[in-house]
Amino acid sequence: MRPHRRQQRKPRAQGHPVILFTIGETTFAIAASAVNEIQSLVGMKAIPHRQFGKVRHTLEREGRRYWVVDANIQFGMLPTHSSRVLLLNESPVAVKVDGIDRMTEIGRVLPLPKAFQGDEQNWYAGLAVIAGRVIPVVNPAGFLSHHELNALEESEIRKAPVQETAEVTA
């Protein structure tokens, strides 16, 4: 009988689960499926020779290295007090933000207006209206391009033999 009852239920409106995070007084959304984990800033290591201003730290998690993107720099915002890192799913990228607001569902993602001709075309996947507020939905792939990721990975590979030699000498 149970399966029959289940069939009779009205289908629920399909929403997109998102995580709302804050930087300063601005709230952003990111698809929940794009985030693997949220954690504190503990364990972040400073990068001595920065290739990109927005990547100043790395973070090791379960044997995987993440490049931590400072979201303030990414979005051209003044420095604020960061307390959380979003570890992304599809790439070794983590995003340093002020805090997590909540998880919620959005009905649909509105396309960016064509008038947006700047970097925001890459930053945002679209816009969402949540409780009467327009919230940008970030594009997870917009934090670091393939080119930037490759450059960071290559710099680590170049650095690796030097470190080994130093250890042997010591």
Binding site: T26, F28, F75, G76, M77, L110, P113, K114, A115, F116, Q117, G118, D119, E120, W123, L127, V129, G132, R133, V134, I135, P136
Partner: protein, 139 residues
């Protein structure tokens, strides 16, 4: 002599400018501007009107510079992006007026965004070409 066309005159500070009337869809009261990081020149945020997101172009920065007066209304006008037409909200500082006049070609050293001139009773009004006023340049 060309046939007169209709234009919407809008003030920004002491001066009035014009847009072709067919480009203007409505005049709206000041509303909350939703702001978030953007890098497109002149775009200050978006309005949420009847579920639609409308980018706000603060053209006063170009037309009158940093001394732009307090804006009172939004003139909502259409912009074309290749095959897509989109509405944009232009903050203006006072009442707007519909007028019928012949569009005269721009003369002398006028800014590139001046599509033409209207010779009205007491003033010469510049007709603005939004596409040239809001070039796709990032800040």
């Amino acid at each position: 002599m060309n046939e007169p066309s209709q234009f919407v005159l809008f003030p920004i500070g002491r001066k009035r400018y014009a847009l072709p009337a067919e480009q203007v869809t409505e005049l709206a009261r000041m509303d909350y501007v939703h702001e978030f990081p953007l890098s497109t020149r002149l775009v200050s945020g978006v309005l949420l009107r009847r579920g639609d997101v409308i980018p706000v172009y603060d053209v006063a920065q170009v037309l009158v510079g940093d001394d732009a007066p307090t804006r009172k209304y939004y003139l909502i006008a259409k912009r074309r992006f290749e095959t897509v037409e989109e509405r944009t909200a232009i903050p203006v500082s006072g009442d707007c007026e519909l007028t019928s006049s012949e569009l005269l070609p721009p003369t002398g050293k006028l800014a590139e965004y001046v599509a033409g001139l209207l010779s009205l009773e007491k003033e010469i009004v510049e007709v603005i070409d939004l596409e040239k006023l809001t070039p796709e340049v990032t800040q």
